[in-house]
């Protein structure tokens, strides 16, 4: 599993490759918080390469959502497959996050 962050214009795009679970969630959290501390405000997390997410991973996304909002920033999620969409629907986190079908649509939504 790995996380990479690239700048696309003024948006930080985070790719999550593999699983987002208890063993690696802190790595994602720290990478995004580092960018937030540098003054970045707009974040897009792309799940097109993601397998599954556990409750710890969902918790980190909730935490990041709050911290980004507190700093006046915005977070978008993109490219959830059907299984991940089900996970967000089950937990009703689809009501908390702005989720786009594609990276392009998410980028346009800022």
């Amino acid at each position: 599993m790995s996380f990479s962050i690239k700048k696309q214009g003024e948006i930080c795009v985070v790719d999550v490759e593999g699983q987002l679970i208890v063993g690696n969630r802190q790595e994602l959290k720290q990478k995004v918080l580092d960018e937030l501390e540098k003054g970045e405000k707009k974040f897009l997390i792309d799940f097109s390469q993601t397998g599954y997410i556990d409750s710890s991973g969902l918790g980190v996304l909730v935490s990041l959502s709050k911290k980004i909002r507190e700093q006046g920033g915005e977070l978008r999620l993109a490219n959830l497959n059907d299984d991940l969409k089900t996970l967000f629907e089950l937990t009703k986190l689809d009501t908390l996050f702005q989720i786009a079908d594609t990276r392009e649509r998410a980028l346009e939504s800022f």
Partner: protein, 153 residues
């Protein structure tokens, strides 16, 4: 009933169920490989694509995470035993830790309630219950066992 030797070998028991049995140290880095192993076997044994991509990996990750971090309090020297039994009708997963257990019925947090949506924790047991047909907890040989049952779809 099963070849419970902790080697992780796949075996067939007397009534034709396929059984995996593995002992892992209490380290969250151990979760992904064992979940991958169990999920791979589920694919081979023709559980549905949805069950192999969502129900099994997420619910088993939750059970392992609880066992390692809560049951065994992250003490690496303590072990977690994972057993998976697949029959024609269902998958049964058992995760045993060295902790004192917990009251499953008392864990009733609903993370989908409006006031709980922004909580960072409290979704683990909810996900196990949502993704499995049955979740049980019991004590066996001074170990705390969580049993997850998923009917074939």
């Amino acid at each position: 009933m099963t070849a419970a030797d902790g080697t992780g070998e796949r075996r067939h028991d007397a009534v034709g169920r396929v059984t995996l049995d593995r002992l892992i140290p209490s380290d969250v880095r151990e979760i992904e490989p064992i979940v991958e192993l169990v999920t791979r076997e589920c694919r081979v044994l023709a559980l549905s694509a949805r069950q192999c991509a969502l129900n099994v990996p997420v619910a088993l990750t939750e059970a392992l995470s609880n066992a390692i971090l809560r049951g065994n309090r992250g003490v690496r020297e303590k072990h977690v035993r994972v057993r998976a039994m697949v029959s024609d009708s269902a998958l049964v997963l058992e995760v045993a830790d060295e902790g004192t257990g917990f009251d499953l019925d008392a864990c009733t947090i609903d993370p989908t309630r409006p006031g709980n949506i922004e909580r960072e924790d409290g979704r683990g047991l909810f996900l196990m219950r949502s993704l499995m047909d049955r979740v049980e907890r019991y004590d066996r040989d001074a170990h705390n066992v969580v049993r997850l049952i998923l009917n074939r779809s």
